[in-house]
């Protein structure tokens, strides 16, 4: 079976490094991007199944990035992983059709569970 391709978007470098390491061990193909624009570039170059994205980032925040990702032809699933959870961003994220909303700090099991759920769900385009 082909490894699920995950794009991790987070400006917190240590966190991004650790999570990608943990996910790779668990059989995911992981790429990282430290900002929204950078993530959009990666998506242009390579196919990605799931985007795990932080909300509060310099340059372009998570919700805005998600909005832009939706304009791509082949839309990946999206999971929000934020250190600033709030009801408002949760509702906004749901409206944008994200597959999961996780808040930091969280266990790696929570992340993999969310990834599984996202991958097994219907394609993002139908959401």
């Amino acid at each position: 079976m082909k490894k699920p391709r995950v794009l991790l978007v987070d400006d917190e470098e240590a966190f991004a490094r650790n999570i990608s390491k943990l996910l790779r061990i668990r059989g995911y193909h992981v790429q990282t991007a430290d900002s929204g624009p950078r993530a959009l570039e990666v998506l242009l170059e390579e196919p990605v199944d799931v985007v795990v994205i932080d909300l509060k980032m310099p340059e372009m925040d998570g919700l805005e990035t998600i909005g832009k990702i939706h304009k791509y032809k082949k839309r990946p699933k999206i999971i929000v992983l934020t250190g600033y959870p709030s009801l408002l961003t949760r509702l906004q994220a749901n409206q944008l059709g994200v597959s999961g909303y996780l808040s930091k700090p969280c266990r790696v099991q929570d992340v993999t569970a969310a990834l599984q759920k996202a991958l097994s769900g219907p394609p993002a385009g139908d959401a």
Partner: protein, 596 residues
Amino acid sequence: MKKKTPVDNAAGYHAPQDQREKYYSRLFRRFILLTLACSIVPLLAVGWGINLHYTNFARERMTNSLQTQIGHHKKIIELFLQEHSSKLQLIAQTHSKEFLSQPQNLQEIFDMINRDYWSIRDLGLIDSNGQHLAYIGPYDLMDKNYSKTFWFKEVMDQGIYISDMFMGFRKVPHFVIAVVRKGSGEPWILRATIDTDSFRSLVENVKIGKTGEVYLVNREGVFQTTSRFGGTIMSPSETPIALSHDDIRIRVEASHKNGNNRKVPRQIVCQTWLKDPQWMLVVKQDYAEAFYEANHANLSTLIFLHLAAVTILVVIVFISRHMIRVIQRRDHEADHLNQQLMQTGKLAAIGELSAGVAHEINNPLAIILTERQLLLDSENSGGYASSDFQDQFHDAMEQIDIQVQRCKRITHNLLRFSRRTQSVVETVDLNAFIQEVVDLVEREALASGIKFFTKFDEALPPILSDPSQLQQVFLNMITNSIDAHDGNAYGRVEIQTRSVPDRSSVRITIADSGSGIDPKHLDKIFDPFFTTKPVGKGTGLGLSICYSIIQRLGGEISVQSDVGQGTEIMMTLPIRPPDEVLEDLARPHRNTGGAS
């Protein structure tokens, strides 16, 4: 467009107490002056005007009535004299000398004249030589010769003559009316002596008040009747004799001393000339009595007017006092409210900051958690001995330490902030202090694309101030400068500290590259509740509270802004605030920073 707002708050939220008192007394004086100008001045002006008008009117009426009276009296006297002249003429024309020289005939005529009222004293028939032909009267004058008397010559010349008062042969004051009959023969004279008492009573018995007097004087100024106060008949009077005139003249004689050293008060004098003889009829009355009624009415009006004015004044003073008291109470309430607002703003700032800090801690915690997981994974895959595990172990431990330190810094900042909610005056190193505030907000700002640049003056002296209030100000100002970039993808905030050349104060400048402030809003940005943020986004209290705090700390604050370019806020703080500022800060009821 550049606009500078030197902030000189007219309302003076926290003006010192003595300044307030001065303001209140100034306000009080202004109230009184204004109401005086609007009520008492017009009242008195109108009152006095009407009074003056009425007085003149009353005087005119009084004078007119006096004129009418004296005119009437003059006519009576003239009629009396004319009547007697006519009677004598009639008798002389209708009777012969022979008839009249019979004493019984003359007596009959004498009685006839005196039948209605006693008016002539005696009656005599005198021939052209001045010798009595017949005489009826109480005196023995038959042998007197009148050819040398002044009246004899006059009557022989003029045909009829009324004399002035004279003593004559009988040595009592009297006057005569004489007519001459010039016929074919020798001319003869019919002479009557007017009864002095009846004439005097005719003239004098006009009672004009208590002080009024009526008298006659001849052309030489000699009394022809006795005046009530001036002098007796035949004595010289002090009345100035004017040229004879037909009309009635009125003048006011000032108070003076008369010949008997008696004080004569101010008098109103009315005079007119009789036609024949040329006597002047004089009516005098004390001015005070003549105008008593008018003056009395005047006085009552004026008393009433001034009483009204005094009443209004008293009422104005009371009302103004009351209003000042109301204003004082309102100001007091406003102060109280302002302090409550500051407290509210403070609490809001704490709440916002706490939420930010709580979120901030999530990131390091997330990293710590992933480090733990990495260690567990490593341990599962190879055991403690493997070099992979050793590497991971050291990396993880390093990261855990870094992240825990990060958490510590965040929580310490929070603790420091909450400790500073108790207002104390201490020395503050502004550079380090501002850096702390920047640290608190930097990450959040970075998320909005805003970078901080600090340019600290290394030689900046520490200042004596209240750190908790300063923190509130800086936090507010810096948050505002971040919010000013709403809608911009990138931005910068420059914070600069430097000491002012005279070394007694320091200046902090916070310049942002945000959207700037509309010039029409520039004057209002320090007003409470003024905000341009959408409803629910801002209370409009932040800057007004900052303004109050800076002012209370003895500093100044000014704003300079260009729309589309950015805003620069400049704060000046004294290195050592004046003693009264320190005392004010130390006072518990002023201590709005005190957490309850």
